[in-house]
């Protein structure tokens, strides 16, 4: 979604806007880009944002962009609108996979009662709050201090959400502190980190053995994996041809491989062809594809 525009920005500066610039799908989404104008036109690079200790996953340019629009996290019509609109769908995925995995009652109002979750790259807490309402003990972390402040303020508006622990830190720092969680969730973050493979290793280290890891990101090949649920086995046997240039946009099979190397086996994956219901968002049917993967940390 909007990460695409970030991606492009970064690519322009880092790689001279190579291949992606030519991708036809990019231009189809000009309205989307308009929605991210603040992102594109702010010159956030010079901000004096306070970041967590610099560690492997941090990409300072990316973080500055989030800091610049932090105020608008909870504006459902603002730059983070795609996340707001996508939220119920991705939460439905999380609910169904994790209820099954942890043997919880799918008709419960608070199925995640008694489970410890960490929301890595929580931003303003768009995902953390619903997870808390679903009963999880949530820790939300983000590398941008401003995001954490917004998240804290907003969570305090709701007595249930106010139980969330927000912290400005990184996954690596939590690993050093030897923190462990039943479920480690990082949605729409991996495409912003400096080293996805290292990042996955940190997520894995935070997950208890047999615990769950959920990652969502944008598919580099966009429409290729569209809406269907891609059978994990299918993906597992579909080895990358090695023709891809590495970029921080992963394809589903790359994500599966990366997680595999980090001792997480992907059990389920789904694509989101995100289709706004109302005419409000004029992008309608052509918003590209995000995907979400649920994996289990191998025991031992």
């Amino acid at each position: 979604m909007f990460s695409r525009s970030l991606y492009r920005l970064r690519n322009l500066s880092r790689h001279n806007g190579r291949s992606f610039y030519n991708s036809s799908s990019y231009f189809k989404h000009s309205a989307l880009i308009t929605a991210f104008q603040p992102l594109l036109h702010n010159k956030p690079y010079a901000t004096t944002t306070q970041h967590a200790a610099s560690t492997s996953s941090l990409n300072q340019t990316e973080l500055a962009k989030f800091a610049a629009i932090a105020e608008s996290w909870w504006d459902a019509e603002g730059p983070f609108k795609p996340l707001h609109v996508m939220n119920p769908t991705r939460l439905a995925f999380i609910r169904s996979t994790l209820c099954r995995h942890f043997g919880k009652d799918p008709f419960s109002v608070r199925p995640f009662e008694g489970l410890k979750f960490v929301d890595v790259g929580c931003g303003g807490g768009i995902l953390s709050e619903p997870l808390a309402r679903m009963g999880a003990s949530v820790t939300g972390i983000d590398a941008v201090d401003k995001n954490i402040k917004i998240a804290r303020l907003h969570a305090d508006l709701d007595p249930v959400a106010s139980s969330i622990e927000y912290q400005c830190t990184t996954a690596e720092n939590l690993v050093e502190e030897q923190k462990k969680f039943d479920a480690v969730i990082a949605l729409e973050v991996i495409e912003h980190v400096a080293d996805p493979a290292e990042f996955c290793k940190s997520l894995s280290a935070l997950t208890v053995s047999n615990g769950a890891t959920v990652i969502s990101t944008i598919n580099r090949s966009m429409r290729a994996y569209a809406t269907a649920i891609v059978a994990a086995e299918y993906i597992l046997h579909w080895l990358p041809k090695g023709t891809h240039e590495w970029s921080s946009f992963l394809t589903p099979e790359e994500l599966v491989m990366t997680l595999q190397r980090a001792s997480i086996s992907v059990e389920e994956m789904a694509g989101f062809a995100y289709n706004p219901l109302t005419g409000q968002w004029s992008l309608s049917d052509d918003v590209g594809v995000n995907f979400i993967a649920f994996g289990i940390k191998n025991s031992e």
Partner: protein
């Protein structure tokens, strides 16, 4: 799972200003039990939250539609834990009215469709309806004063037992109240009216001193009570205060027509819904049990006031004239609907399809007061705003022509409770516009389609088209001959399809 342990039955709380602190203490303690975090309330807010009633949902207007929503929420696994306020000064909500079986039927009745009946069954309210007077009908005859055509619908044509059921509004309402009493819902009834409302704005949220209240809708009631809620449901009828206070505009118009309604008696029992189209509008005779029927008769406002005050004898004469003897000849089954149609035109004709015209029962007595209502059509431009949602007549009012008014409201109830349940499942804030829009999208399309047809229907029959009547009659007869078409018409009329009938 502590959630499941706290299902102790709560007597319905009735909140009055005097009792405020006591009642709310009870409420607060149940809340604390229910949510297993010690951090349920922010420390600094504790004082505030304990003094001020806070609910998940405030239902403003406990009429036939609002009470159905409360029952529906109470009967779904993912919504029954919600804390509900019901705000309505109607004394029936607190002192259950008694309904005597041998009182003559009230003239205010609804024709509920099979879809509405299944909603009632699903929430456990239909068993209470069945304890009172109600009249199923399995036949419907619609005809036209010109004598050219008629249509008889039979439930059998659509493989159904009934086409609908006529129930007094007070029975529907009371059944919902009885049903709600049996539920585990955490509900508080506020016997007052909504006077004003403030919705959270971004500045109130960021500057507010009591954080958890600032993000809620604040309702001020006529008795001075303030109630806070995550979601305000406007089920307060066609002059909705909730709609007005949230700045939602409406589109609508009045017809220069009124409906006269009353209960009448005839010599034998009736199980057919009758509707005859006259030059000034239709007259309907709906069975309401025993030898009683309900009359809904559309005419000009001037005629309506005359018919309201004329003596019984004249009124009965006028009714029988309108239903049968006046304006034109009875249709003959033969003219278009009978033998004229070649037999190869009648695929799968069952005997039911070719039923002959029947004469409606003769009215002998008026047993209730006569009331007159102006006909109007109103539709809210939006059904939702932040923390606000409209259902029932607050969102759409139609004239009683096809008996769809309250059925549209019940379809709203079914859709909204599902959307709220889906929201709870994924941990949404139930007052969030993005969530509520799903309800709006689903219902608006269906309601607008239904209204468009009712409006077209109304227009088609309020003008005397002369020769066009023959076409209309042919359409009626066509519908009578082609069983599959008729089946479609019946399923639209009985609320199974979202698109309207007789378009």
């Amino acid at each position: 799972m502590s959630r499941l342990i706290t299902t102790k039955r709560l007597a319905s709380n009735i909140f009055t200003f005097k009792q405020a602190s006591r009642t709310f203490c009870n409420d607060a303690s149940t809340k604390l039990n229910n949510v297993p975090f010690e951090t349920q309330f922010n420390k600094e807010d504790e004082g505030v939250t304990n003094d001020v009633p806070q609910h998940d949902i405030a239902i403003v207007g406990g009429g036939m539609v609002g009470m159905a929503l409360a029952c529906s929420l109470a009967s779904m696994p993912l919504t029954k834990h919600l804390s509900i306020a019901i705000i309505d000064s109607n004394p029936a909500l607190t002192n259950m009215p008694s309904i005597k079986k041998d009182d003559p039927p009230d003239p205010r009745v609804s024709t509920v469709t099979p879809a509405t009946i299944s909603l009632f069954k699903g929430i456990g309210a239909w068993e209470f309806v069945e304890q009172h007077r109600h009249a199923y009908f399995d036949k419907m005859q619609v005809w036209d004063y010109t004598g050219f055509g008629f249509t008889r619908y039979n439930a059998r044509d659509a493989d159904k037992d009934v086409l609908g059921c006529v129930v007094e509004n007070k029975v529907l309402h009371k059944s919902l109240l009885s049903c709600l009493q049996k539920k585990d819902l955490k509900k508080t009834i506020y016997p007052a009216r909504l006077s004003s409302m403030s919705l959270p704005t971004r500045s109130s949220v960021s500057n507010g001193s009591s954080k958890s209240l600032a993000n809620l809708a604040k309702l001020e009631l006529t008795d001075g009570t303030n109630v806070y809620a995550k979601l305000v449901v406007g089920s307060d009828g066609n002059k909705s205060r909730v709609r007005e206070l949230s700045g939602i505009k409406t589109t609508g118009w009045n017809y220069s027509q009124s409906a006269v309604i009353c209960t009448v008696e005839h010599p034998s029992e009736n199980s057919t819904a009758w509707q005859r189209f006259l030059p000034a509008g239709p007259i309907a005779l709906l069975p309401i049990g025993n030898n009683f029927s309900n009359i809904v008769w559309t005419m000009s406002p001037k005629d309506a006031s005359n018919h309201k005050i004329m003596n019984q004898h004249d009124f009965i004469k006028a009714v029988n004239h309108a239903l049968d003897s006046g304006h034109g000849p009875r249709p003959e089954s033969r003219i278009l609907g009978g033998d004229v149609i070649p037999s190869f035109f009648k695929p799968n004709v069952t005997s039911a399809v070719n039923e002959g015209f029947e004469i409606p029962p003769k009215v002998v007595k008026v047993v209730s007061e006569r009331m007159a209502f102006p006909l109007s059509l109103m539709h809210a431009n939006d059904y939702v705003a932040k923390r606000v949602v409209l259902i029932g007549d607050a969102a759409h009012t139609v004239h009683p022509l096809a008996g769809q008014g309250v059925n549209m409201g019940y379809a709203d109830v079914a859709a909204l409770s599902n959307v709220i349940g889906d929201g709870v499942a994924v941990g949404s804030d139930i007052g969030e516009v993005t969530l509520l829009k799903k309800y709006e999208t689903e219902r608006k399309t269906a309601n607008i389609a239904m209204m468009a047809v009712l409006d077209g229907f109304q227009k088609a029959y309020s003008v005397d088209f002369g020769p066009l009547n023959i076409l209309r009659a042919a359409a009626f007869n066509g519908a009578n001959v082609f069983a599959p078409l008729k089946r479609n018409i019946i399923s639209y009329a009985s609320g199974e399809r979202s698109l309207p009938f007789l378009s």
